[in-house]
Symmetry: T
């Protein structure tokens, strides 16, 4: 990471499929507007229930991206 | 959520398959006796090991369900 | 508290008015089915937003009540 | 929340009136520049004291808003 | 734990004798109404003071018990 | 805050009225014996229940005050 | 607790005997200079080791005492 | 667990596939040098991003193993 | 802080020199694009190691800045 | 502690007798293979239940020991 | 620490120079009125910003001092 | 980090000079017996006081190192 500054942003990704998929969806959306994505860290794993099933996994992550000079 | 009161209960689901599956098993069991399940949040992800393998994923979740009036 | 055992239950109260009001609604609902309510502690203060306003305060509390012998 | 991605931003609202009012001021300011505000969660409740009185309530909240596609 | 689902309940036991005794009292009371108690975990150790002595140890624990099928 | 040292003290204020009022009562009492009160931060919001109502809000705060030279 | 204000002080009690004894020693010392001690809460349980044995249990507690008017 | 002593070690497993897979890789590596692995608990779920994708899931776990006498 | 609203942003500064220097680098970079920076708080102090030395201090901070009206 | 470096290891001691005894068993076992044990800190107090009784106290501690030069 | 009781007090030291210096200033001020200072622990590292620079490091510490008999 | 497994060890470094120096001393000692040190993270910053001065900075860190295949 030498010499760099990184910004950290918090995003909630959702997916009807899996918790990992919710993470990937958050990152895919972030990569549309931010460059130099470097790492992520899961903050919480939640979900919405309907009729006794997981309708949506909701995973909050922090994403770090390198500040361009 | 307007005008409602929700109860929160803590459950540990287990599965030999995956962490997501342990969550689903906890919710499936809860839905047999509780109605109006609304959301869940993962509290911890643990597991039991046997012979160097994950014999059981054990995921503790909180489940929120709407109090019927 | 001498000689007693207490149960702790987690409840989410909601209110369009205020955070304190959401706490009171949770306790009012709990007191309909539980006796000997003794104390509460706020766990989190959240809310739902609509059109840039707080549509609902959602306050999660733990309530302790004395186990009757 | 199905199929959506949410951004989370952290804001400190202040008010000489009350802690709830500080939350509302933070949300009112956020709604001037952000759309689709969906939820908030209180992070900390602090305040500035002058002459032995609360001159300002300072409430830090996280606000979640839906990412428009 | 293979194939099982566990419920977790929170209880405060009290005892004028010791912190361990407060834990045991909580478990003894829980075992009167719940079956298949499996584990506990201490959440907090508090107490009530009278005349400069510990009148009551108050220990909050979580108890996990197996859900019978 | 340049050049100063601050002490931090922990106080529990109570009020039958509201959580904000409990904070104000704690600060009012502190200001009777301490000078140069500068800030506070809420640590926990609890309360005592009687007959299914909040008999007393109990709010624990930390108060910072400037050390006089 | 109605109408009262409480101060909270942090103390470390030690004992070669047991963790409970370290708590009691902290309270006994506090009661020599403070009146109206009301409750305590354990913050951490540590100890000093010598020759592979516990030479001293060191238990940090918070003590709440009623502010006299 | 009667009569036993357990050691706890912290390991970071990685995987390009999934978070569960990163856990399994950590355990597989640990089982090459440690015997009597008994349980694990997830500490954090992070990952490295490249070109807007998850190049590596990095899951930190604690592993408990029975001390042989 | 009277009457103001503040935004909070999270940044990771790095430096081969010292942990304080990493903080300063994060703030220097933030001040290039943000005005009215008011305070910061350290979230974590980490670093990258090479050949048994600290190649880079990586300090994550939150920065609060006043929202201009 | 001047001039020294300490290692910290995490151990779970068990005992059918008491929580303090579980701590002592962990330390006794550690002292068989490690020298210069200096301090410990309790991380969690759990236990296994059988027939409504505490079959085993399980206390997780961190132990610090001086690195010999 | 055998046989002693310790008080813990919380102090915020400030310095325009460095985070370590803020710690030292807090301790220097504490040592003017308290005797037998034994240890400190950093609670938070914050600072005030002016014109894009750290005008003041503000470090909150807990200080433990031996209670004289 | 692709394809690797990392071990994490906890060490306390000390220094009469500075908090950063205590970190460096911990890493220097660790590098004498461990290879492939990759990162560290500060867990706590404490110190021993003598005559009102910091006699020793004591910084606890976690160090991650790559497991050699």
């Amino acid at each position: 990471m030498a010499g760099h500054v990184y910004n950290v942003t918090e995003i909630v990704g959702t997916s009807p499929e899996s918790s990992d998929d919710a993470v990937k969806n958050a990152i895919a959306e972030a990569s549309r507007t931010l460059r130099n994505l470097d790492w992520f860290e899961v903050q919480s794993i939640r979900g919405h229930l309907e009729d006794g099933y997981v309708a949506d996994w909701q995973v909050t992550i922090k994403i770090g991206f390198r500040h361009e000079k």
